[in-house]
């Protein structure tokens, strides 16, 4: 009996141990399975960590360069370089957009991509409106189908990222040979980096704007200093002449009654008129800059205005040996405008023509435009003419063409600027056409109906 009990106990013990062994085996298998999974996950996490660290480092390097970029082109080149590492694209380019100009490839990883004539369209508009869009097969897209197949056929998938800033609109296009390469996570990465690139682009544009503003301010300040110097001379010259002639008349009784009295008074009168003209221009500019220019609009007697302008400009023309011819067309339509401002415009243009012409001819011609909507005033001279750079600066205040001698020309550099402001206030336009050695023509168009 005791033996039987012992055997039963031993059998129970064996069963119990077998069950424990089975549980241990299952636990071992479960642990082994989890360990295998975790090892793979760990290796993957390690790989992801390494990739993320490399991307981060690359992005930080890129951001440093982006932060220092001062123009869009160098910035775009850096965007392509950084994203090449982060997005692993095969090629990429940046399309720039500007009003009324065909889209241009402004940066590319491959010179051949610069040959792409990007067609634009609804898809591009969607991207420029702010959407980052991936295409798993670019050949299925209507805009890509209009790109030369020889330039696109090496690639299958594409990613399009908006890169707009303050003044520029651009689209980054990444390409890959593999279909569907630009998955959601790559799109997210591109979108994040593009946000930084856009910020850098805006900063660069801000800096350029500031540089431009500073340059303009420096230039303006220099021109104003030069203007003040020339102005004080200009004011002093007629003033000295007036004072000198007056002293001469006061001190010399003969001169008070002699035959040269009329000539002396005439010289005093001319100097006084020059002085008034000069002060008038300065005051006009002051009003323009302060935005306090009043207009007196009504029907304009065009021929009379032209005659008065001629009378005013004639002394300067005579002094430079020039002839002024006035040709006012017959049957002109009625012009509603400010006669005083128009006269000033014409005087300034004629004075400018006289200043740059010596022993030549100056024509003032007035015609109706072909569409019957405006009157066209042209002032043509046979003077020294302007280079393109001079033409571009001619309407800026205090600017004068070339190394001028204001004493010789008698100008302040304000006349054309004032003429432009007046013309635009009257709702018109002013243009010039000039050739060095041939002469210059200024054309003023004023709407018949008057300023808006």
């Amino acid at each position: 009996m005791a033996n039987a009990d012992r055997e039963t106990n031993l059998e129970d013990r064996v069963r119990e141990l077998e069950q424990r062994l089975a549980r241990a085996e299952r636990a071992r298998l479960a642990a082994e399975e989890e360990v295998a999974e975790l090892r793979v996950e760990l290796a993957h996490a390690g790989e992801r960590g390494r990739v993320a660290a490399a991307h981060t480092e690359r992005l930080l390097e890129g951001l440093e360069v982006l932060g220092e970029a001062r123009d869009a082109l160098s910035l775009f080149a850096e965007v392509l370089r950084v994203l090449g590492d982060v997005l692993e694209f095969d090629a990429a380019f940046v399309v720039g957009f500007a009003p009324e100009v065909a889209p241009q490839i402004v940066s590319a990883t491959d010179a051949r991509l610069r040959l792409i004539a990007w067609p634009g369209g609804a898809f591009t508009d969607r991207v420029l409106a702010g959407r980052t869009v991936a295409l798993f097969d670019l050949a299925g897209n209507p805009e890509w189908r209009r790109v030369d197949p020889a330039l696109r056929e090496a690639y299958t998938s594409a990613l399009h990222v908006p890169l707009h800033a303050l003044h520029s609109q651009a689209m980054l296009v990444c390409l890959h040979r593999r279909r569907g390469f630009f998955t959601a996570d790559r799109v997210t990465r591109a979108r994040r980096f593009a946000a930084l690139a856009r910020q850098a682009l805006q900063t660069a544009e801000h800096l350029v704007d500031l540089e431009d503003d500073r340059g303009r301010a420096v230039e303006l300040s220099r021109a104003k200093s030069s203007f003040v110097a020339s102005m004080s001379h200009e004011l002093r010259t007629p003033l000295n002449a007036i004072i000198g002639y007056c002293e001469h008349l006061i001190e010399d009784p003969v001169a008070q009654r002699g035959p040269e009295l009329g000539e002396t008074l005439g010289r005093i009168d001319l100097s006084a008129r020059m002085l008034r003209e000069l002060i008038g221009n300065v005051l006009d500019l002051g009003k323009i800059e302060a935005g306090r220019l009043d207009l007196h609009v009504g029907p304009v007697a065009v021929a009379e205005v032209c005659r008065l302008a001629l009378v005013t400009a004639l002394p300067l023309a005579v002094r430079r040996g020039n002839v002024i011819r006035v040709d006012v067309g017959t049957g002109l339509p009625e012009l509603r405008s400010d006669a005083g401002k128009l006269r000033q415009i014409l005087v300034n243009l004629l004075a400018n023509a006289c200043s740059f012409t010596e022993a030549g001819a100056i024509d003032l011609v007035v015609r109706a435009d072909r569409r019957g909507e405006a009157l066209v005033f042209q002032v043509r001279d046979t003077g020294q003419g302007l280079t393109p750079a001079e033409s571009a600066a001619v309407f800026l205040p205090f600017a004068q063409a070339g190394p001028v001698d204001p004493r010789r020309l008698g100008g302040t550099g304000l006349g054309l600027s004032i003429a432009k402001h007046f013309t635009e206030r009257l709702g018109g336009t002013i243009d010039l056409d000039s050739a060095v050695g041939v002469g210059t023509t200024f054309t003023v168009r004023l709407p018949l109906a008057g300023p808006p």
Binding site: A45, F136, G140, F181
Partner: protein
């Protein structure tokens, strides 16, 4: 992005649809932009789908039948083999398109056509989805995936689960946009406003037994190392086929813990496997599987345990969260695909699986289906079809 789920064991299909949808709406705070539907085959599917359509209108609807029940953050539903689970995604900033095609004689062509139609339905022509969510009849998944990849390439993640019934009786069905279908493939092209992260695990360990498939065709494995496949497999597993080996028959439940594995990829020399589940033995000694197999492929006998089948789903969910560096506060919700074979093996403990998932997902909404084939994306970013797998997709509120 908001996600909510609702489940019910109500037997009347129209009532079940009404109850579940109203509960979903209340939790979601408004109508969904995508409705995922997992009913068991005991439901009158046309009636159920019509009832959902009446309430949800034109909302894109994607579904497939599930084996025995569904699980959610509220637990497992389907003790009597009858259940309905709904998951709604409310995401006005995202786009979702559902399409279906008959598999017919050209499953690869159906894959190509259905993904194109789903993308078009989402209004995102030409754009790769963040995820292709798939449901198909069992038997053609590899070809369907190949078709989808013909269109999208290999990088776009594909996940989902094959339709299932309660007894491998071929009663499974698919659902797309208010229609109950048979022998169809359903695809949702997802473009969510938040990010999506995935995990796809086998969770089994390789044993010391392996060999080469020397004769195979489609889903039938005739020989391993030149010998009848059933004979070799039975020897490897210590005789799990038992008397079925001689006469042939269903072995699905016997083989759940002993699938055949193939290396799907590796990281740093560490392999990960996709599994093939032997479901029957032929009288001639061949094994039929729930995946295709090709001659020349190396097969490894894998080993699993009941314990790991219970704990594994939670670990896969954790892996998906880790893939996106998410914590539960960032999580909108999740879709879980759990192999029906595994579920049948641990049926009494399936509630524990749901609890484990809920714990790992921080109590956020999830809906789990039990499938006859699982699709997912491995850590090497390649999408595959496999058996005895768990596929988890987690949705983040915003973009990461």
């Amino acid at each position: 992005m908001e996600i909510a789920t609702s489940t019910t064991s109500t037997a009347d299909s129209r009532r079940a649809a009404g109850e579940a949808y109203e509960a979903l709406l209340a939790r979601l705070g408004g109508p969904p932009d995508l409705l995922v539907v997992f009913p068991t085959v005991g439901h009158d599917l046309p009636a159920l789908v019509a009832a959902l359509r009446e309430r949800a209108g034109d909302v894109p609807m994607h579904g497939a039948t599930t084996c025995q029940g569904v699980m959610s953050e509220a637990g497992f539903v389907g003790e009597a083999g009858l259940a309905l689970g709904l998951l709604g995604i409310r995401d006005p900033g995202g786009d979702y398109g559902v399409a279906a095609r008959a598999i017919g004689d050209d499953p690869r062509g159906a894959g190509r056509a259905v993904v194109g139609a789903a993308i078009a339905a989402a209004g995102r022509d030409g754009e790769p989805p963040a995820l292709v969510w798939l449901a198909a009849d069992p038997g053609f998944e590899e070809a369907v995936i190949a078709g989808i990849q013909d269109v999208l390439g290999p990088d776009v993640p594909i996940a989902g689960g094959s339709a299932a019934d309660n007894e491998v009786a071929g009663r499974w069905q698919e659902i797309a946009n208010g229609e109950a279908l048979r022998r169809a493939v359903v695809v949702t092209a997802m473009y969510p406003s938040g990010s999506i992260h995935l995990a796809f695990h086998s969770g089994y360990s390789p044993s010391e037994h392996s060999g080469v498939a020397t004769r195979a065709a489609g889903r039938t494995l005739y020989e391993i190392d030149g010998r009848p496949a059933a004979e070799v497999y039975d020897a490897w597993t210590g005789g799990v086929l038992g008397d079925v080996r001689g006469r042939g028959g269903n072995v699905l439940r016997r083989t759940t813990l002993h699938p055949l594995g193939r290396v799907a990829g590796e990281y740093g020399g560490l392999p990960f496997h996709r599994l093939s589940h032997p479901d029957s033995v032929t009288p001639e000694g061949a094994l039929t599987l729930f995946t295709e197999i090709e001659a020349g492929e190396r097969l490894i006998q894998m080993v699993g345990t009941r314990e790991s089948l219970v704990s594994r789903a939670g670990r896969v969910a954790r892996a998906a969260m880790r893939a996106g560096n998410l914590d539960a506060r960032e999580l909108a919700g999740a879709l879980v695909v759990y192999c029906a074979g595994c579920m049948l093996t641990i049926q009494r403990e399936i509630g524990d699986v749901a609890v484990e998932l809920a714990r790992e997902l921080g109590g956020r909404p999830f809906l789990g289906t039990f499938t006859f084939g699982e699709q997912g994306c491995f850590v090497n970013r390649r999408s595959h079809h496999g058996n005895l797998m768990i596929s988890v997709v987690v949705f983040r509120h915003g973009e990461r």
